[in-house]
């Protein structure tokens, strides 16, 4: 998982299901007919996924907004499932004819048989949640407002310190309409806004050293949330601060040491070390280091980790997942004991579990898989200062670039972009180039202290799996991990 770095308003439309009916002629009858065709042979489940997404971004660099872009992505996919098999065909052409063709292709992989079934989708449902009520789609905010915001950020960030040499800032807005219809009668549509503000600062010292600092924020909210100085100034301050801290940072010592993780984004540890290994597909196939371990202790007492797709306005939240299942809150680890997996429909069905609302896909061109939403550890009781004070000699890691896990062996690694030495319970020198490496089923057993300061990240995470990227959130209170392997170049 990593964090990185006008226009004509759309014509007024009703709900998202109306959009697909009015623009493409996909009505109830077309859905029933296509699903019926997909089910002509004996299959367990068939579903249709429609997407109509507009996205735009403007980027500032070298003090000017040089370029803007705007994209329209539309398409539909037909999926047929039989046992562990899935057939999927998709097209960017949303017409009844191309859907029927796709349904035939998808069905071709299913077992032969001739017990044709009729399908009737039920009256289109509004999602049970309403987690991101947005009046003005972020893609409909005038581009002039976005451009003006970037100029303000540039001027402000440069004014903070003479060592700021370069500012790259961007605003990305997305407006995603989806509709899902399935052979079990599911018919649901959702409108999913997503905004993101990125600020990257390059600072240079007098001796020619250069470092970057990045801070971003976003979520499923109105873009106006970020247009006020109260919202973006702290982000710019943070990007500048990070670049300057790293200019003074020395090499990180290598070896085994106690590590304190700061609150918020360092929750990427949970995502990598624990989260992926608890996705249903790996556990059904028994290819995860966590396979068959429900009920076992995988973390220290006091450690509770949840995946929650129902947090209002968060980047990882969804009213319904990409299979039409309402999102929920899944307890993954409770007081140190492994409790549950995250599921899409197929893996839930094959394992005899309930779907958890974690069936997600990057776009209509991808098959859904079990994916995380917002994954975080619940707060403990300790003051964060006491957690730091408890370490004799170790590392305090506050911000991370990204991480990766080998799900089968459980080995994970992630890279700190802001870290400090802890000496005699006090934070001392900044260090750079620190990586943490460990083993998923083991690392949370090393949690010895949990702070009371749970924070969620700023809303910039993108998780990659099997070539598909989806927006996710993470969160963590300040925690202490005993004896972790830290990579670096220092002695």
């Amino acid at each position: 998982m990593t964090r990185e770095p006008e226009t004509t308003p759309g014509e007024p439309l009703g709900g998202p299901a109306d959009l697909f009916r009015d623009r493409f002629g996909i009505d109830e009858r077309a859905l029933d007919a296509t699903l019926g065709r997909a089910l002509e042979r004996r299959v367990d489940h068939a579903d249709l996924f429609f997407e109509y997404t507009s996205q735009d971004s403007v980027v500032l660099e070298e003090g000017i907004v040089k370029s803007g872009d705007r994209h329209l992505v539309q398409g539909a996919g037909v999926r047929v499932q039989t046992g562990e098999r899935q057939g999927y065909a998709h097209s960017d052409d949303i017409t009844v004819e191309s859907l029927e063709l796709a349904a035939g292709t998808a069905r071709a992989i299913s077992e032969t048989g001739d017990d044709a079934r009729a399908v009737a989708v039920r009256g289109r449902g509004a999602p049970t949640h309403d987690l991101y009520p947005v009046v003005l789609a972020p893609t409909d905010v005038p581009v002039a407002d976005k451009v003006a915001l970037l100029y303000e950020i540039d001027a402000y960030a440069r004014s903070r310190d003479p060592r700021v040499e370069q500012v790259i800032a961007s605003v990305v807005s997305q407006h995603r309409n989806v509709m899902i219809a399935a052979s079990d009668g599911t018919w649901v549509a959702d409108v999913q806004p997503l905004v993101r503000l990125n600020i990257q600062v390059l600072a240079a010292s007098q001796d020619g050293r250069r470092e970057t600092g990045y801070q971003g924020a976003g979520g499923r909210t109105e873009l106006h949330t970020y247009l006020t100085p109260d919202a973006w100034k702290p982000l710019a301050d943070e990007a500048v601060r990070l670049a300057l801290v790293n200019l003074d940072a020395g090499p990180c010592p290598a070896g085994t040491m106690d590590v304190v993780l700061g609150p918020g984004w360092p929750g990427v540890l949970l995502h990598e070390a624990i989260g992926h290994g608890l996705e249903g597909d790996f556990n059904r196939k028994k290819t995860s280091a966590f396979s068959d371990r429900i009920g076992e202790r995988v973390a220290a007492p006091g450690v509770t980790v949840v995946d929650d797709g129902t947090l209002p306005g968060r980047r990882g939240s969804l009213n319904v997942d990409d299979e039409g299942t309402p999102t929920g809150r899944t307890v993954l680890i409770e007081d140190g004991i492994l409790r549950g997996y995250m599921h899409d429909r197929q893996n839930a069905r094959l394992m005899g579990h309930e779907p958890t609302g974690n069936g997600r896909r990057e776009s209509y061109a991808h098959l859904p898989m079990p994916r995380m939403t917002n994954t975080f550890m619940l707060a403990g009781e300790e003051e964060p200062e006491d957690v730091i004070r408890s370490v004799e000699r170790g590392l305090y890691a506050v911000t991370f670039g990204g991480g990766q896990v080998d799900i089968t062996s459980g080995k994970f690694v992630f890279s700190a972009s802001e870290a400090y030495l802890i000496e005699k319970g006090r934070i001392t020198a900044p260090v750079k180039g620190a990586s943490l490496i460990g083993n998923g089923p083991d690392v949370l057993t090393r949690v010895s202290r949990i702070g009371r300061d749970l924070e969620l990240d700023q809303g910039v995470g993108t998780c990659g799996k099997d070539g598909q990227g989806v927006p996710v959130g993470v969160g963590l209170p300040t925690i202490r991990l005993d004896a972790v392997t830290v990579g670096g170049t220092g002695g």
Binding site: V65, S67, H71, T212, A254, K285, G401, S409, I437
Partner: protein
């Protein structure tokens, strides 16, 4: 509307609507993909997609403003709307004195680079199912400790790229990419190890035999069983072909003209300087026959070519498109990359490190004591400083022999120092994509373990 017509219409509407200049690209992609796990088909995917991308440049005081729009709806109405939106959006951006199409020098010859084999289009889904099954079987048959797998994937993608600009250049090429991959899992004494192997080619005939792919993948997973950590310290490190390739890809990113003019690369300002050991020579060649990065012209219609990027350790050239070239006072190297939905950027074409002498085993044997790296993961590379710190697995070497498999360690250094410390380059050059490197040895890196 055909993609040629869509490109033509988008350009006409943009220039008619007030653009100073414009270029457009239509990409048609047809893909088939199969995954087999054990004896069972896990999924089959088929798709056909068309995307049209348009870049418009509008005149302003002292330069041009730029915008990019893209759509997968190629109807007249959608193309007209994207053209007018692009012009409006470009007017909202600031004039940039360096923005614009290339001044000229567009590709004149479009050689056949053997990027697609016509009869491969007739190969059906069954061929992929069969190939994936054979790889899967071969992997599982190799050893009883291969107990499971993430499956074997086989697939083909055919693409057609049609590019035109308002300066009068128009070109088209077709290409294919076929692949076969296998990811088995080995298990012993309660621990599991996975690895993968794959083959990728412009032609079906160019793919390795499925049994060879399956066996190689299984051997890679098996040899990692019983892996453990090693003590923290400084050691020589040998990178095998695939991991050397990953290092070279990091170097390539730092050679991009964009990273250079933004000073966000540790190689900025180093043109003509020694940046690596004299054993290191790196070439980029966009016209390598059947190369996975080959194309007759780049994302702005410039001819692709052969560029010596690093010659015996001296930085000979950056990788440039016309914009980053202008920013640096240099000409394009024909390395503009372009997707429908983005402005031109810079990408390597076929980039490789010239082979030296000796097999991987000989590089290892000469090392005495140290680490052989066969896998790296994580994102611990900072292009601005060259600082490098990634997770690794491989083998601990003593007396020039593989003693035991190693995992859960990190290797760290600075890419610039690592390049200077390359003290051996092997002879095997294996193409697993558009970047390739022979095995190489770095004299000293920090390894963090116990």
């Amino acid at each position: 509307m055909s993609e040629e017509q869509a490109v033509e219409r988008a350009l006409a509407r943009a220039t008619g609507g007030g653009a100073h200049s414009a270029d457009a690209v239509a990409i048609v992609a047809e893909a088939t993909e199969v995954r087999v796990r054990g004896e069972e088909i896990e999924h089959v995917k088929q798709s056909r997609e068309r995307t049209l991308g348009l870049r418009v440049l509008v005149g302003g005081k002292g330069g041009l403003g730029q915008a990019i729009t893209s759509t997968s709806d190629l109807s007249d109405e959608a193309v007209d709307r994207m053209a007018s939106e692009a012009v409006a959006l470009a007017r909202a951006t600031a004039p940039d004195p360096d923005a614009g199409l290339p001044e000229g020098g567009f590709a004149e010859d479009l050689p056949d680079l053997e990027l697609v084999v016509a009869e491969d289009r007739r190969a059906g889904l069954d061929r992929h199912v069969e190939a994936a099954r054979r790889a899967e079987r071969a992997a599982r048959a190799l050893d009883p400790r291969i107990v499971n797998s993430e499956g074997s994937d086989a697939g083909s993608q055919f693409r057609a790229v049609h590019y035109a600009n308002s300066a009068g250049f128009e070109g088209r090429y077709e290409s294919a990419s076929h692949s076969l991959a296998c990811s088995p899992i080995a298990s012993a004494e309660g621990s599991m190890q996975t690895d993968f192997w794959y083959s990728v080619s412009r032609s079906l005939a160019g793919l390795d035999e499925p049994e060879a792919v399956g066996r190689q993948a299984a051997e890679r997973a098996l040899r990692q069983l019983g892996a453990r950590r090693i003590a923290t310290g400084e050691f020589p490190v040998v990178f095998d072909g695939p991991t050397a390739r990953s290092l070279l890809a990091s170097v390539a990113g730092c050679l991009s003209g964009y990273a250079i003019y933004r000073k966000s690369s540790f190689l900025a300002g180093e043109l003509g300087e020694r940046i690596a050991s004299d054993r290191v020579t790196v070439i980029d060649d966009g016209r390598r026959p059947a190369g996975l990065g080959s194309r007759p012209f780049d994302g702005e219609g410039q001819p692709t070519r052969r560029t010596t990027v690093i010659e015996a350790g001296v930085l000979g050239s950056y990788l440039l498109d016309s914009y980053s070239g202008r920013k640096l006072g240099l000409g394009s190297t024909g390395n503009a990359s372009r997707s429908a939905g983005s402005a031109p950027g810079v990408g390597a074409t076929n980039l490789w490190m010239e082979p030296g002498q000796g097999s991987l085993d000989e590089l290892v044997a000469d090392m005495g004591k140290g680490l052989l790296v066969t896998g790296m993961f994580g994102h611990g590379f900072n292009p601005v400083t060259g600082d490098f710190s990634r997770g690794a697995k491989g083998f601990w070497i003593e007396g020039g022999e593989r003693c035991f498999p190693v995992e859960e360690i990190t290797i760290a250094g600075n890419l610039r120092t690592m390049l200077s410390d390359v003290d051996a380059v092997g002879e095997e050059l294996l193409w697993l994509g558009s970047v390739a490197a022979p095995p190489l040895r770095v004299a000293r890196m920090t390894v963090a373990g116990e």
